[in-house]
Symmetry: C2
DNA sequence: CTTTGTGAACTTCTTCACAGCT
DNA sequence: AGCTGTGAAGAAGTTCACAAAG
């Protein structure tokens, strides 16, 4: 069993998230155990990969039987830090921001929006879906008061640099970046970039070259 | 120089997309050439990586000077298949679907929505932002008539399996999947999964383990 | 002097294959 | 017999380091 969780390779962590989704799915079918082979085939991995990934965190399986679904769900939720609710703030209440705020997935999972930041003066001081809208200039103060852990960036290209600087100064632990500007982790802020166009372009690359 | 574009590793293709964005950015600053080192540092890669990636597709640089920005932009656009417009269809006109349809990035890039499919009978036959809304039952017929190349899936969990089956039967070349159900490429359809929660969960994993 | 392009070295990730438990 | 956990082997991806070119 591998140590040093903080240095765990990203591919393994990403697959853990996939396993969790699959386990919840299988559980909803009323099943109680599952083999590494099934977990693998449902997701296009190899069974050895599934076993090796899980073995990084402990020995959860039973030889001859496979993995107890409830147990494994709880273990993975623990590993991924999903046994508590995470406090998010949306920065940028455009169409995408609104879609994310109203997305059911956040609430049914372990994520809760506790604040919205928006530049447009007419929105500041109001609420959207019951969440208070603040001026981005107060990010530092509000982040501390509201104990914001992750900011979700859905602002236009032009505003990204300035806003990211404020996020770093505020010392917010993490950012999920939906803008088309790629950000690098800096200071104490861990960044994850989500780029639709990059995804589309990998598709057009492979479509073009077959 | 490496051959077999269709077998090019995904990480390289993804970085190409990043280089393109960076080049457009640098170009907008009025510059005409750039070194592999700068391209690397702006994105958190190594300069050797940049050079090796680009060398898979040809020799575009000038020793001592670096890369001509305009030339490299055109080369990468060519490699990624972005010299023409791609015909997209949205399946599922919920909040996320609407946000994507109105997202400026699609039109300013090489992507165009030519159809919308929606289950809700009250919407079928109408238009949204000038794009015709169709019944999903007609996917096969409309896909052919409209020459749809990529479908963007923004439907609820429950509908994914059924809709994906129709996409495969229609032989649509690619799907960008925003649903929480992971899909595997099948038939002639290439799938790219986009999962916000997976991204959030990688953040919570690292936040939890430091 | 600067910077590319690229084999060789290295590191990381994945699969193989099998001992060992149920 | 069925399936896990894992060391060893193999594949893939990254960096090193330097000859060659402007």
């Amino acid at each position: 069993m591998r140590e040093k969780l903080g240095k765990m390779p990203l591919p393994i962590v990403e697959r853990l998230s996939v396993y969790l989704l699959t386990l919840l799915d299988i559980k909803s079918e009323g099943r109680v155990s599952v083999s590494s082979l099934e977990l693998a085939e449902r997701n296009g991995f190899s069974s050895a990969q599934v076993r090796k990934d899980l073995s990084c965190f402990g020995t959860f399986g039973k030889k001859g039987t496979g993995y107890d679904i409830d147990l494994l769900i709880e273990k993975i939720r623990g590993i991924l830090g999903l046994k508590r609710t995470w406090r998010l703030a949306l920065i940028g209440l455009g169409n995408l921001g609104k879609a994310l705020i109203t997305h059911k997935g956040f609430t049914t999972r372990a994520f809760e929006f506790v604040a919205i930041f928006e530049k447009k003066p007419s929105l500041v001081g109001k609420q959207y879906k019951g969440i208070q809208i603040y001026n981005i200039e107060n990010l530092d103060k509000i982040a501390k008061a509201k104990r914001i852990e992750i900011v979700v960036l859905t602002i236009p290209k032009e505003e990204v640099a300035g806003v990211y600087e404020k996020v770093i100064v505020a010392g917010i632990p993490a950012a999920l970046n939906f803008t088309p500007v790629r950000l690098l982790s800096k200071g104490n802020t861990l960044v994850k970039n989500v780029n639709f166009f990059q995804n589309l372009e990998t598709l057009t690359f492979y479509l073009s070259n077959f």
